[in-house]
Symmetry: C3
Subunit: 353 residues, 3 copies
Amino acid sequence: LLGTHVAGLSPPRVADVVAALGGELLGDGDLELRRIGALEAADEHTVAHLSQARYRNAMLASAAGCVIAAPAEREALQARRSAILTADPYLYYARLTQWWAARQRPARRPGIHASAVVEPGAQVHPSATIGPLSYVASHAVVGESAWVGAQCHLAEGAQVGPGTRLHARVTMAESCQIGARGIVHSGSVIGADGFGFAPTQGRWEKIEQLGVVRIGDDVEIGANTCIDRGALEDTVLGDGVKLDNLVQVGHNVQVGAHCAMAGCVGIAGSARIGVGCTFGGGAIVLGHLQLVDGVHVSAMTIVTRSILKPGLYSGVFPFDENAAWEKNAATLRQLHALRERLRALEKLGATGA
Amino acid sequence: LLGTHVAGLSPPRVADVVAALGGELLGDGDLELRRIGALEAADEHTVAHLSQARYRNAMLASAAGCVIAAPAEREALQARRSAILTADPYLYYARLTQWWAARQRPARRPGIHASAVVEPGAQVHPSATIGPLSYVASHAVVGESAWVGAQCHLAEGAQVGPGTRLHARVTMAESCQIGARGIVHSGSVIGADGFGFAPTQGRWEKIEQLGVVRIGDDVEIGANTCIDRGALEDTVLGDGVKLDNLVQVGHNVQVGAHCAMAGCVGIAGSARIGVGCTFGGGAIVLGHLQLVDGVHVSAMTIVTRSILKPGLYSGVFPFDENAAWEKNAATLRQLHALRERLRALEKLGATGA
Amino acid sequence: LLGTHVAGLSPPRVADVVAALGGELLGDGDLELRRIGALEAADEHTVAHLSQARYRNAMLASAAGCVIAAPAEREALQARRSAILTADPYLYYARLTQWWAARQRPARRPGIHASAVVEPGAQVHPSATIGPLSYVASHAVVGESAWVGAQCHLAEGAQVGPGTRLHARVTMAESCQIGARGIVHSGSVIGADGFGFAPTQGRWEKIEQLGVVRIGDDVEIGANTCIDRGALEDTVLGDGVKLDNLVQVGHNVQVGAHCAMAGCVGIAGSARIGVGCTFGGGAIVLGHLQLVDGVHVSAMTIVTRSILKPGLYSGVFPFDENAAWEKNAATLRQLHALRERLRALEKLGATGA
């Protein structure tokens, strides 16, 4: 829907895009753009982009009325109705989607919905929005132009920074904070208790979680993701961090700026993660480990010791047809014995020689 | 509870079941049924079923007043108070649970609860139900006999098909759709943004997610499961798909009809999955891959390349007592070196021969 | 926040702590405590604890005004302003956090918030609290001093035991029960349908889930965790069980008393787990298995057969730099063939000898 031009709004022209986002216009600036699309599924009113060389043939064959591409494609684009040349077409495409969405999204209406419950002592900026059936406890702070969606929960002392948007049904627990321009998707829980217990006589004694969660600026948090409050110190997410859905971040974890975690990642308590690290889906980092800046972890890999050197790390059992896997897995259980047998043979070889 | 007969409702007789669901009645059709149960935990007012040969002894020993079984069991069931013969006892059992639950469930009351917030411009069918404290935005559409539970969220333009039931606290984001006769469990989020960013100078630039989620008919979605909206194209779930709890489906994914995914499965963005595939708990499929019809993936297996042949695929590290695992895992890290040593020995052998 | 002394409340003295929690006071009982902290980040008004010998140097260097430690440290603590000696410092610390949090938390106000919807026939104890925008269906029971947070959902017949606290946005489905003194964190779903379908002609026929969830006393359940209702029998969690966030417990599962499961664990349907078992993050137990008392499963390990002997079990692919992992993983796919080659060499050796 949002990728298609909305009826009633005059469609943008290629020249409008260039005026807003820059780049060099080739060909017809008056072409009306009705959708952003993929090269393969484009028509004359589609704007598409070429960001990887391997899609070049798709570009040449595409019916897209406008293509965003690197200057090196100038020649190939001469015959096309229109094109935009830019050094980083993928980045341009990202900004185009933002510009496009901003044009089409219904305007946000500031104010507190009549069905929301806002306790005395809450500070809601007059330019902020509190959606229907949301709850804002006392001492909660909602900043300038912040947008708290429907059915959200801001507990006592929770803070939402300027321009930050909480989608429907987000929970921010007591005294947890998110900075400016953030996005939190539905169902996320920021500031539930960390998992802390002292074992005693076969039982678990609760350790109250006395810290909070502090989230920087420009952070995006996916749906149903959980970030636990600290035990004594705080759980901290740096600026620009991006978390996908169903991610679990334990108590006291520190996530460096601009890290990205794909869906279903789990970071156990007190892990310290450097700047610009990335984690593939389902990866796990055990507790109390340190990962330096620039560490990249493959999907479904478990990090069991600290990583002090940047680079890509993996630990994944290769999948196979079940019968082949079964044979290999069975042998794997004897791997150490196999090594001993090999060693014995080598000795024999040495003796024999 | 539901499996037990509710006080105040007259218990069904075996003949009532056969009248409703078919099958051949053996013995006493007037036997009153007070519960559906397992063979091992049955009494004379229990109806149980035999669907696998390995439970045959349990059937012979069972005190169940009525047993559902295949016609081959006719002889063995002659002495029992009553029995129902049917070609597929497990299917019969499934339908019996449906019939039983429908008899016992409180009737749904059509209408919009006084505490729900329904915006002007929303289309709610007169036969539909909107539960307490739910929010229905403008241009949302709720079909005939649909049942939106308490505290749900239907964003602008969301569509719920006829007869579909959303349990409490379900989110359907802007313009996302689910077809007829679906079931969505609590906490699920349909249509949060996909995880899309363009890297730029150590930061991430958001790619607005302009597609929607389109879900077919007869789909069931588990609790706290997330299905992301598409980036440009849509995320699509075919008819009859069944997703368990805490499943993550990324943007642009296409899931073929009648696929089933167990808990904690993750499907990364733009994967295309054929018809009738199944995924064990915690399995992961990486992005942009294709899986043809009839692919079955074992639990906790990560699919790292496309699968173009139907069949069962696995990739699981065999678990073991920790000490044994440690030895094998340590050797595994030298596996390539081991292979080289083996090759050297083989050469030596060849030379020696 | 909670770990820091709240303005307006008079700070506790060390003697107050000892009066409440026991232990032997050394030094100045009048020292005011303003925060609970780690040894490394302490000042003269911080109470810290020493629970592991490896932190002993940190204790010796710490500026903490009060240290909780074992009697063996008496000598080392003589010079310190104050100290508390106790046999189990970690347990003491846990109880201190509870005492501290109880002092600082705003008092719970009994009663039903004006914005909550409580149906006729619900039984809410006069000393219980029902938070804003919560829904309590008929025949639901909320016990003495129970605390149902904001935007919770208690379906028909759900039961919340005395002193149990549901944080914001918890769902308890039809007839599900939790005992006394429990804690359930935001977004959890207790009692969604188990994943049960009978396959028929390429489709899935729903098996209605007729059991409930029954949870014992002193149980804590993390954020966005799901516990499915039983198919015929019930899903049961014993007393003192602790589940972290994003855990999935399938239908008919039995979890023994005092088990603990870290984040992202999945327990498939009908598994029976003994008393005092623990599960690392992301571990999976397949369906219908039995684990005896005292089984401990490492993080990200999949349990594929029953475990009848207590102990620690693991099955994790060791992670490595990507290039090294790739080589080993490639060889792993030929592991069975390698074994055959080794066997051939051994035969040759035997023949040669």
